[in-house]
């Protein structure tokens, strides 16, 4: 993989949230992540691992009461994660986001045209007519049939897949450099999921876009991502080139996720699907948070939080045991 200048680099991101009893709980515990220009990076992990929170921190859109630490570098700019106001500069202009459910992420009472152009007019200080033209071009690019007529229609008049295309078009109409797609296919029919993923790949090529693709399904990103990060309980546990990570997972958690896929398991080793469920925030086990579910756990796993360490060029895992290093492909 060619060394690329990172467009976005997150360093030591921490996020804690207020709890019901008035305390605080860590949700994200020191995440480093970088995305090169034109790169698609996958961020995977089970529900509650902190994927969405990490993405929202980049945009400064964390829920009220969240406290953050760490640094965010974006295109040569350096922002403190704690200062949500700095990130507001990026929102919509440099970084755009697409959400999981296009049924709820588009405003039900505003026309497609309005939702496509309102931020364009605001950011670029251009007129309605010019904005309409750019928006229609973008709708055409994401293959909305009859884009001119679509501008006057409302979200409920489109299918789920079409709505997600509109949401993507609306996110990209201002020409951002980075698109954060938070589980963009999870809420859609299986039949339209592939189309959306192909669209993201196409847009990356055509618009020289960087993409952070969040998913809890490693299968979804298998065709798409250049590199993947796997998160568990607010930490990155494995990072590496997509092809290698999927073919030869080195962290037991990654391996468990892959084996839990309904079909197309990349190896037929007798590791059954992940037992148990991920811990809720505030209840992360001591040491490696994964150890209670890990069949390779040793004493050291219960004692220390493992650091992410390089095991090959471009490949890192947070596992002191590294039981899968010798497993053949």
């Amino acid at each position: 993989m060619a060394e690329r200048q990172p467009l976005l680099a997150i360093e030591g991101l921490t996020i804690s949230l207020p709890t019901a009893d008035g305390g605080r709980a860590s949700a994200v515990r020191g995440v480093d992540l970088s995305i090169g220009e034109g790169e698609i990076v996958g961020l995977a992990g089970e529900s509650g691992s902190g994927k969405t929170l990490s993405a929202l921190a980049v945009l400064g859109l964390l829920p009220g009461g969240a406290k953050t630490g760490g640094m965010i570098h974006f295109a040569g700019r350096e922002l403190s994660a704690a200062d949500g106001r700095a990130q507001a500069e990026l929102r919509g202009k440099d970084v755009a986001m697409v959400f999981q459910d296009p049924m709820t992420a588009l405003h039900p009472m505003l026309s497609v045209g309005r939702q496509m152009t309102e931020h364009l007019v605001f950011h670029r200080k251009i007129g309605r007519a010019e904005a309409d033209k750019i928006a229609i071009d973008m709708l055409e690019r994401v293959r909305i049939p009859n884009p001119r007529a679509a501008m006057a229609r409302f979200p409920h008049q489109f299918s789920g897949g079409m709505r997600q295309r509109i949401a993507i078009a609306s996110a990209l109409v201002t020409g951002p450099k980075l698109l954060i797609a938070d589980e963009p296919t999870t809420a859609l029919d299986v039949t339209v999921q592939a189309g959306i993923l192909r669209l993201i790949e196409q847009l990356r090529r055509e618009l020289k876009l960087s993409v952070l693709l969040i998913t809890h399904d490693l299968g979804v990103m298998s065709a798409l991502a250049d590199r993947v990060y796997v998160m568990y309980a607010g930490r990155v546990v494995e990072r590496g080139a997509r092809a290698e990570v999927l073919a030869r997972p080195r962290h037991p958690y990654t391996r468990g996720l892959l084996d839990a896929l309904p079909h197309g398991s990349p190896s037929d080793h007798p590791l059954t699907a992940l037992p148990g469920s991920p811990p809720a925030i505030g209840r992360f086990p001591a040491g490696c948070a994964f150890h209670p579910r890990c069949r390779f756990a040793e004493d050291i796993c219960r004692a220390d939080i493992p650091e992410l360490r390089d095991v090959q060029p471009g490949r890192a895992i947070a596992c002191p045991v590294d039981p899968l290093s010798a497993v053949p492909a």
Binding site: L59, L61, A88, L90, R91, G92, K93, A96, M97, F99, D101, T104, A105, L106, H107, P108, M109, L110, S111, E118, H119, F122, H123, F154, H156, A167, S170, A171, T174
Partner: protein
């Protein structure tokens, strides 16, 4: 028949909706006339003794003339049929108190009430929505707490008591409120167009009269609005909290739109759809609430007219008021549904 059906469905949705609602409304009004007619028959009391002095009431000739004049000598079904027949021609009969056509009375008293209730409604909407939005944005912080107290007070204070107290304080104590009524004593009403003095004064370009009429309406309108301010505030806060937590609001933020736009365009709009419904019901409640406020502020409105008519068993006036109030309810409801459909494109009229 099929032709009729076809051309009916060829009409635009909006028109079909309006025609259907007006038709249903007309049926409803017919029902109202029947009920109010029946009620005026069964209430104990004799319009003769209520309207004629003791001496006149003891003179059989005068009584007979009175009964003949108002059709009271006819059998009851005939009286009703006659009433309906005149109604079709826009004749609501003659008031026994004022000896004028009820329509003339209504055209004078009704605009006063509509003016008062509309002013109150505008106040309630502007203040209630603003406070509700503020409270939602500042959820659980001090502005929210203060607004909660205000809105709770608004819905708890009895209107009549509030009317007396505010009048006492602002007129007698502070001397900053003008006196009762719609104009200063001896003031000349603007040329009669709508009979809403503020509007007529504006139309005639009489700025001084407009100022006076406005100063007279502020206090009673505010009193009338208090309850509705409270309920709209509470409702707006809840609806805003709901919409602020929606994905599409987060998506609007992610698009980098200014906070003001996110709140006023993306969050408030769905809340408004719900608020309109509440406001429609509130308007109905205001119309009945005017009786008390009108009597404290000597506002010559429909509430006062209805009250006096009821005391005098002025049958035609009572029925006229019932009918006109029913028509207002029907129109307001229709307007609410139209506005709702206008705000929310997912709603299909029909």
């Amino acid at each position: 028949m099929t032709y009729l059906r076809k051309s009916w469905y060829a009409l635009p949705n909006l028109l079909r909706f309006v025609v259907r609602r007006l038709f249903v409304g007309a049926l409803l009004c017919l029902g109202i006339t029947f009920v109010s007619f029946a009620l005026t028959q069964v209430v104990p009391g004799d319009p003769v003794s209520a309207n004629l002095g003791d001496r006149a009431a003891s003179d059989p000739e005068i009584v007979a003339a009175f009964r003949a004049r108002y059709g009271l000598d006819q059998p009851i079904p005939q009286q009703y049929a006659l009433y309906l027949e005149r109604l079709v021609h826009g004749d609501l009969g003659e008031s026994q108190q004022t000896h004028r056509p009820v329509t003339t009375d209504l055209s004078q008293y009704l605009p006063a009430t509509i003016e008062l209730a509309s002013a109150a409604m505008i106040l309630a909407l502007v203040i209630g929505i603003s406070l509700g939005v503020l409270a939602a944005i500042a959820r659980d912080r001090w502005p929210d707490q203060i607004i909660r107290v205000i809105s709770l007070a608004g819905v708890s204070v009895p209107t009549f008591w509030l009317a007396l107290v505010t009048f006492y304080v602002f007129f007698f104590k502070l001397g900053i409120a003008p006196g009762v009524g719609r104009l200063n004593p001896g003031g000349k009403a603007p040329p009669s167009i709508t009979n809403m003095f503020t509007i007529d004064a504006l139309l005639a370009g009489q700025w001084a009269t407009f100022g006076i009429a406005l100063s007279h309406i502020v206090l009673p309108a505010a009193v009338l609005a208090i309850y509705t301010i409270g309920s709209i505030t509470r409702f707006t806060r809840a609806a805003m909290l709901e919409s602020l937590s929606q994905d599409y609001v987060r998506a609007a933020r992610a698009k980098g739109l200014p906070t003001r736009t996110v709140i006023l365009r993306h969050a408030l709009r769905p809340a408004l759809a719900a608020i309109v419904t509440v406001a429609g019901m509130a308007f109905g409640r205001m119309l009945s609430g005017t009786v008390l406020v009108e009597s404290v502020f000597s506002w010559p409105g429909i509430g006062q007219y209805a009250y006096k008519s009821a005391l005098a068993l002025d049958l035609r006036a009572i029925m006229g008021v019932s009918l006109v109030v029913a028509v207002i309810y029907i129109l307001v409801n229709m307007a609410v549904d139209l506005i709702y459909a206008f705000i929310d494109p997912r709603i299909r009229l029909g």
